[in-house]
C-alpha cells in the first residue's frame, strides 16, 4: 500500500474515479468519431490515422523518456525499422522473400516480428550507449536516428532506396480484408492505443516501473539499492523501441508505401514535443499532447491558413493572402519547444511526481540566488 502511494497514482480515490470518467468519455468520443465525422462532413477521416499512429509512438517513447528519463532523439529510426521489417516480410517486392523463395506472410505475424526486431535493435543500440548520461546519450541516439535512414537510402539493392517499398501486405480478420477501409484501420489503431495505454500503465506501476523512476531520479542511489541500472535501462529502450516497431508496421500497412524520407529527424522531434507538451511520464498527458500537436499539424494548420488568407483578402495585405502555415511547421515546433521549456517545463498535464521534481529544482535555484546575493553584499 505504501509503495502504491509513493507511485504516480493520485492517492485520493475520487481522483482515480475522475480519471476513469475522463478515460471513458474520451474513449466514447474516439469510438463514435468516424460517425460524427460522416454526420457533419468534417472530412477528418484520413487525417485521424496518422495522428493515431503518432499517439502510439508517443506512448512508446514516453516509456523511454518519461519513465526511465533517457532522452532518445533517434526514435524515428526504430519506427523505420518496424516499418521496413513489415515491408520485408509482406511486400511482394521484398528482396528477402525473393531470396528465400518464400511467399509474403500475413500481416499479423509480420507485425509481431517487426515489434521483436525493433526491440532487438533497441537492445543493440542501447547496450553500448547506456553508460553515457543525459545529453551525450541524446546525441548518440540522434546520430543513430540519422544513420538508419541513410543506410536505407544507400542500399537500394535491399530496400529499394529512395524509390521506397510498395505494396505492403494488409491485415485481415477472418474473411474480412482491411484494404483501404478507413474505419477498419481507425478501430485497429484505437484498439492498439488502448492496449498500449494499459500496457504502459501496468509497466509503470510494476517493479520495473518503480526501478525506472528510481534510476531516473538518482542512478547512483538506485544502483546501491540493488537496482541494476544497465538491464533496467535496456529494458526501457527495448520496450520503447517495440512500440515504434508495431506502430511502424501499421504505418507501412496503412500507407502501402514507405521510403526513407518518412523517418527523418523531424519525426523524432515531433514525437518528443508531443510528450513534452502533454507532460512527460503522464500517459493521458502524452495522449493529449499527441492529439493537440497532431491535430494542429494535420487539421488545424490548413484551416488557420484559410483564416489568415481570408483576413488578408479582407484587409488587402499581400503577405497574409499568401500565408501558408504548413510552411512554418518547424518554426511552430521550435517555438513550442522553447516556450514550453521556459514557461512550463513539466508540460500541460504533468504527472504529480514530475511536477514536484521540477519545482524542487526551481526552489533550490531561488535559494541559491538568494545566497549569491547575500554573498555579494558581504563582499561590498
Amino acid at each position: 500500500m505504501k509503495i502504491q502511494e509513493i507511485g504516480d497514482h493520485a492517492p485520493a480515490s475520487d481522483g482515480r474515479e475522475r480519471r476513469w470518467m475522463i478515460a471513458a468519455v474520451s474513449l466514447a468520443v474516439a469510438l463514435v468519431l468516424p460517425y460524427l465525422d460522416m454526420l457533419f462532413g468534417l472530412n477528418l477521416g484520413l487525417k485521424l490515422i496518422p495522428i493515431g499512429i503518432f499517439i502510439i509512438l508517443a506512448l512508446g517513447l514516453n516509456v523511454v523518456v518519461g519513465f526511465a528519463g533517457l532522452l532518445d532523439l533517434g526514435y524515428a529510426a526504430f519506427f523505420a525499422i518496424g516499418a521496413y521489417t513489415a515491408a520485408f516480410l509482406t511486400s511482394p517486392s521484398s528482396v528477402l522473400l525473393q531470396a528465400l523463395g518464400a511467399k509474403p506472410i500475413d500481416f499479423w505475424p509480420a507485425m509481431l516480428l517487426s515489434t521483436l526486431v525493433a526491440a532487438l535493435f533497441g537492445v543493440v543500440l542501447g547496450a553500448p550507449t547506456l553508460r553515457l548520461r543525459g545529453d551525450y546519450l541524446a546525441i548518440v541516439t540522434l546520430g543513430f536516428g540519422e544513420i538508419v535512414p541513410l543506410v536505407i537510402r544507400n542500399t537500394p539493392q535491399w530496400t529499394r532506396g529512395v524509390q521506397g517499398m510498395n505494396p505492403i501486405g494488409t491485415p485481415s480478420l477472418g474473411v474480412y480484408k482491411f484494404g483501404f477501409d478507413f474505419q477498419a484501420w481507425y478501430y485497429l489503431i484505437i484498439a492498439v492505443i488502448i492496449v498500449s495505454v494499459v500496457l504502459t500503465a501496468r509497466l509503470r506501476d510494476s517493479r520495473i516501473g518503480r526501478a525506472w523512476a528510481a534510476i531516473r531520479e538518482d542512478e547512483v542511489a538506485a544502483a546501491s539499492m540493488g537496482v541494476n541500472p544497465v538491464s533496467t535501462k535496456l529494458f526501457a529502450f527495448a520496450m520503447g523501441a517495440s512500440f515504434s516497431g508495431f506502430a511502424g508496421s501499421i504505418w507501412a500497412g496503412y500507407l502501402q508505401f514507405i521510403d526513407p524520407g518518412q523517418f527523418d529527424f523531424s519525426i523524432s522531434v515531433f514525437v518528443i514535443v508531443m510528450i513534452i507538451l502533454g507532460g512527460m511520464g503522464n500517459i493521458y498527458g502524452v495522449i493529449a499532447g499527441g492529439i493537440i500537436l497532431g491535430g494542429f499539424d494535420r487539421i488545424l494548420s490548413g484551416s488557420v491558413t484559410d483564416v489568415l488568407r481570408g483576413v488578408g483578402n479582407l484587409v488587402g495585405l499581400e503577405a497574409l493572402q499568401q500565408a501558408d502555415v504548413s510552411r512554418a511547421r518547424s518554426l511552430i515546433l521550435g517555438l513550442a519547444l522553447v516556450i514550453l521549456m521556459l514557461v512550463r517545463p513539466e508540460g500541460l498535464f504533468p504527472s504529480a511526481r514530475r511536477r514536484a521534481e521540477l519545482h524542487a529544482a526551481e526552489e533550490s535555484a531561488e535559494e541559491a540566488d538568494q545566497q549569491r546575493s547575500t554573498l555579494y553584499e558581504t563582499q561590498r
Binding site: T129, G134, D135, A138, V140, G143, E146, I147, L337, M341
Partner: protein, 264 residues
C-alpha cells in the same frame, strides 16, 4: 546555414557573380558581417532560450536548443526557399601545384584551399590564444570547471557565457563563408548536419580542448573523404556518425582527453 545566407547577401551587394572578378573588399566585409551576425544571433539565442534554464534539469536546455535550431531552419526556409542556393564561385581559379606536379596531377591545391586553410588556421590560433591568455579566457575556463566557485570568486558568469556564445557564433560565421566559397552552394537544412559534425569533431578530439577540436575536425574530414572514395558518396554521414557513436562509447574523453563532467 544562416551564416552562409548572410555572407552571400553581402557578397551579392558587392557584385559577386559567377565569373565576375573577385571582390576582395566584399570578402573582408562578408567575413566581418558573417561573424558579427552569427555571434550576435548566438548571444541572443542564449539570452532568450538558454539562460533561464541554466539551473533546470540538464535535458531542458538541450530540448530548448533543438527548438532554436528548428526556428533557425524555418527562418532559412522563409529567407531563401527550399531549393539549394547557388553560392558564386568568385575565388580565382589558380592551382599552385599545377606548376610543380604538372597539369594532370591528381592532387590539387587551389586558391580556395589556400583561402580555407589561411582563414581557419589563424582563427584557431586566435581562439587558443583567447582561451589561454586573456582574462576572459581564464574566466571562461573557470566557469566551465566549477560555476559555483567562479561566482564566489567574483566572476560575472552571465557575461562570460554570453562572451562564449559570441565567440562560438563568430567562428560559425567565418566557417559559413568558407563553406559557401568552397562548396559553391548552400541550403536551409545545412546547419543540422554541420552542427552534428562539429559536435563529433569536438567529442573526437576531447571536449574543451582547442587542439583536440582541431585534430578531431581534421581527422573527421579525412575520414569523411575516405568514406566517400572507398565506400560511396552517400555513406559519408554514416561514417561520421558511426565515429561519433564509437568515440562516445569507447573513449568519451576524446583522443586528447580533457576531463568532462559527464565523460563517464
Amino acid at each position: 546555414m544562416l551564416g552562409t545566407f548572410a555572407t552571400l547577401t553581402v557578397l551579392t551587394l558587392f557584385g559577386a557573380r559567377e565569373g565576375a572578378p573577385t571582390p576582395w573588399l566584399g570578402l573582408v566585409v562578408a567575413l566581418i558581417v558573417g561573424m558579427v551576425f552569427c555571434g550576435v544571433l548566438n548571444v541572443l539565442a542564449e539570452r532568450l532560450a538558454y539562460r533561464r534554464l541554466r539551473n533546470a534539469p540538464r535535458l531542458a536546455p538541450l530540448i530548448s536548443a533543438i527548438g532554436v535550431s528548428f526556428i533557425y531552419i524555418n527562418i532559412g526556409l522563409f529567407w531563401r526557399g527550399p531549393a539549394p542556393v547557388l553560392y558564386p564561385d568568385i575565388l580565382p581559379r589558380f592551382d599552385f601545384l599545377a606548376g610543380i606536379v604538372g597539369p594532370q596531377s591528381l592532387i590539387r591545391f587551389g586558391v580556395r584551399d589556400l583561402f580555407v586553410v589561411g582563414l581557419a588556421v589563424p582563427l584557431m590560433l586566435g581562439l587558443a590564444w583567447v582561451i589561454k591568455n586573456t582574462t576572459m579566457g581564464k574566466a571562461m575556463r573557470a566557469v566551465a570547471q566549477d560555476r559555483e566557485m567562479a561566482v564566489q570568486l567574483g566572476i560575472d558568469v552571465d557575461r562570460i557565457i554570453s562572451f562564449t556564445f559570441l565567440l562560438g557564433g563568430m567562428l560559425a560565421g567565418a566557417a559559413a563563408l568558407m563553406y559557401g566559397l568552397y562548396n559553391n552552394n548552400t541550403n536551409f537544412v545545412l546547419g543540422f548536419t554541420a552542427g552534428l559534425k562539429a559536435f563529433t569533431a569536438a567529442v573526437l578530439g576531447g571536449v574543451g580542448n582547442v587542439t583536440g577540436a582541431a585534430l578531431g575536425g581534421f581527422l573527421l574530414g579525412v575520414l569523411g573523404s575516405l568514406t566517400v572514395t572507398y565506400v560511396g558518396a552517400g555513406w559519408e554521414n554514416v561514417g561520421v556518425f558511426g565515429i561519433l557513436v564509437l568515440v562516445l562509447v569507447f573513449r568519451p574523453t576524446g583522443l586528447l582527453g580533457e576531463e568532462t563532467p559527464e565523460g563517464k
